[in-house]
């Protein structure tokens, strides 16, 4: 496959940045998108052009590091996959592909396609945990029986890899899907109930302070989420938030 790539280049957070066009030849349809980017970078380095910075780590769809907004969609046109799992066979010979960083005020660009998603970390630190005393006689978590329906839903919520595709996709750059997955994962389990009130209040407060937008229930996040996190989680977080605010 021969492709034309339009890639966002930005030297540093302050630089203005612009789209640059590169041609790449003989791309194998079996390559992953990131492998194609590796080949492009080899080519750029051979021409003494600064290679394109992009995030990646596991390359097997579990770490959430790879980002990229490909042809107008987070992680590209395929469903339920991260960019590292997107294959070049999803494109056609001769295609022009636009590649942009995930864009949100709360995800500032570091360089080229890499963005700073530490706003997610701060939301998580505001309440996405359970406090456990490590006194030596900690109770085994499995000793508490849990309704299978709740356990399944909590597990589904816990599959969120914190990639940020929901924010990148949302027309409002809202982080509700991510935050609601993190809230739900605990809200559904007895271990999480103890700190439920403060958790949801603090996490939503931090989310707002980071400058994410407001949810308008377009549902775009759910469609683009590589882990299929459901909008049900957002409704659950709204319920949790309402009852927590009534408690004060």
């Amino acid at each position: 496959m021969n492709l034309t790539l339009k890639v966002w280049r930005q030297a540093n957070p302050q630089a203005k940045g612009k789209m640059e066009t590169y041609n790449i030849k003989e791309v194998s349809p079996d390559m992953s998108f990131l492998e194609m980017m590796d080949v492009l970078n080899e080519q750029l380095m051979a021409q003494e052009i600064d290679p394109i910075a992009f995030d990646h780590d596991c390359r097997e769809g579990i770490c959430g590091m790879c980002s990229m907004f490909i042809n107008g969609e987070a992680h590209g046109p395929d469903r339920l996959v991260t960019t590292c799992q997107l294959h070049m066979r999803k494109f056609k010979d001769g295609d022009t592909i636009t590649i942009e960083p995930f864009r949100a005020k709360a995800f500032p660009v570091i360089k080229d396609l890499t963005v700073d998603r530490s706003s997610f970390d701060r939301v998580q630190q505001a309440g996405g945990f359970v406090s456990v005393n490590t006194s030596g006689n900690t109770q085994d978590a499995n000793a508490i029986p849990i309704d299978k329906h709740d356990a399944d839903k909590a597990f589904d919520a816990a599959t969120c890899i914190g990639c940020g595709a929901c924010v990148a996709t949302c027309k409002n750059a809202s982080a509700m899907l991510f935050v609601s997955a993190k809230v739900s994962q605990y809200a559904l389990l007895p271990q999480g109930k103890v700190e439920a009130t403060d958790r949801v209040l603090n996490m939503v407060k931090q989310m707002d302070e980071e400058g994410f937008g407001n949810c308008t229930n377009t549902g775009a996040c759910e469609v683009e989420c590589p882990k299929g996190i459901s909008l049900e989680n957002i409704a659950r977080m709204n319920r949790e938030y309402l009852s927590a605010s009534l408690k004060g």
């Binding site: 339009k6 939503v204 707002d208 937008g213 775009a220 409704a235 709204n238 309402l242």
Partner: protein, 219 residues
Amino acid sequence: MTLTASSIGRKVAMALSGIFLVLFLTQHFSINMLSVFSESMFNQVSHFMGNNPIVQFVLQPILIFGVLFHFIMGIVLELKNSKSRTVKYANYKGNANASWMSRNMIYSGIVILSFLVLHFYDFWVPEMNYKYVEVLPLNPDRYFEELVHKFENPVRVGIYALSFVFLCLHLLHGFASSFQSVGINNKYSKVIKSFTTAFAVVVPLGFVFIALFHHLTAF
């Protein structure tokens, strides 16, 4: 108002004001529908609504507050949301993952708002003028005449119909969305979606039907 200071609080307030407007719309629709079946019943109910002190001095101010709150909050949220992505995408495929209606609530809302301005000028201002400024004598039979008179003009009927198409689009997303906003998303959501979709189509088109009915039968 700490609740409206948070993103979720605002969303819930938006949903509650939206549901309130839907209830008002249902009431308004039912009364207008009477005009198709019976002139005297329409006059009776309109006279009641127009002269009952609870309707006039309690419900009407609440309604005005509800409308103002809804569209002002809608605009506030829209501004906040557009500021949440300072650098826009060069290529953004919004239609790949969300409906047109859900992405354009502010535009359907602004069309409805412009309609409301016209509607106030058409019905509400003359009504207030009649009752509270000029204090003309009560006439329980004038309402039907006034209604039919308004729908003689085809341009007005056209504008009216177009506005209701936008109300339909607004409600196709908004009505179901308001359930999600207040935290209702469960095994009944499919039923809710069907009901709200039917409402969003039937009620606005019903208003258009009433306008056309009077336009065509006035002569």
